[in-house]
């Protein structure tokens, strides 16, 4: 834009608005990093717990869940820190996206404590909360595969009601693969195409 004060006509005005908003929107897109990171960690921990429970029993199988935040939290924080350094602007969508997942994390911790205390399976609760946060992310980013992923997670949570507790983690692994990893890879593919 080398012009100093070009006066626009209505057609040109509309074109400028559309073009600029398209450029700005590219910065709003996520590349699916968090869905891939947490998707793989939850899927592997779920299968790991099931395998250890079948082969060893006792409380040992639950220890696989302790490994998940030990890997996930530092990886997520380093990623966000590096992205913040590169970022030249703040945007509303990304802020809301962060707040939705912060709300999810707080609800998740409380739900896990409540489930353990009441000796009920935490899986349907976790899947319901993850479905809600995924649903909101899909709406915020206007990315339909995430909305469909959320529906898969809600269905998974409902299916758990009809199944014994032992297999809940397998439902969780399947739900996370379809509800997190598939849309996560699609988001990543889309971001690569747009060079985000």
């Amino acid at each position: 834009m080398e012009n100093e004060e070009k006066i626009l006509n209505p057609q040109e005005s509309l074109r400028i608005i559309r073009e600029t908003i398209d450029v700005a929107k590219k910065g709003v897109q996520e590349n699916g990093f968090h869905f891939l990171l947490w998707g793989w960690l939850v899927a592997l921990a779920s299968v790991g717990e099931y395998y250890l429970r079948q082969t060893r029993g006792g409380t040992e199988p639950y220890l696989v869940w302790a490994i998940m935040p030990l890997i996930g939290v530092p990886a997520a924080l380093i990623y966000e820190w590096r992205r913040d350094k590169k970022q030249h602007e703040r945007n509303l969508v990304r802020e809301w996206y962060g707040l939705v997942w912060l709300g999810f994390a707080i609800s998740l911790i409380l739900s896990l404590v409540l489930a353990i205390r009441n000796q009920v399976s935490p899986v349907p609760l976790v899947m319901t909360l993850a479905a809600f946060a995924t649903f909101m992310s899909g709406l915020l980013m206007r990315f339909k595969p995430l909305v469909l992923g959320a529906i898969v997670l809600w269905i998974g949570a409902a299916v758990c009601l009809a199944l014994p507790m032992d297999v809940h983690v397998l439902i969780q692994a399947g739900g996370i693969m379809l509800g997190y990893l598939v849309p996560g890879y699609m988001l990543n593919h889309k971001a690569r195409q747009n060079h985000v």
Binding site: E4, L8, S13, T20, A24, H88
Partner: protein, 97 residues
């Protein structure tokens, strides 16, 4: 006859700045320069005009000891952009109908 369009937004660069800020919450001067392709002098002049009109707020701060200019829309700016966009739509509807 359609409503007169806001002359403050009938400039290519000022409209681009406002459209960009409608999506991102706030932007650094350098990001705006990069996205609009404008020269620093022209961008600075148009930002000053938008600031004088009360459409954007400019905050001068520091990051890692480097000066940083942050621009963001004011509520008046958001209202003006929305009114401008609504007037444009009315113009095209009247023209089409």
């Amino acid at each position: 006859m359609f409503k007169e369009l806001d002359p403050m937004l009938l400039s290519q660069l000022r409209l681009a700045i406002m459209s960009y800020l409608m999506v991102v919450r706030e932007a650094e001067f350098n990001a705006l320069k990069e996205e609009t392709g404008a020269s620093a002098g022209n961008l600075s002049a148009q930002i000053s005009k938008l600031q004088e009109a009360g459409y954007i707020g400019v905050e001068k701060t520091y990051r890692n000891n480097y000066p940083l200019t942050l621009c963001k829309l004011t509520p008046k700016g958001i209202e003006a952009f929305e009114a401008f966009y609504a007037d444009l739509k009315t113009y095209f509807n009247q023209k089409g109908g």
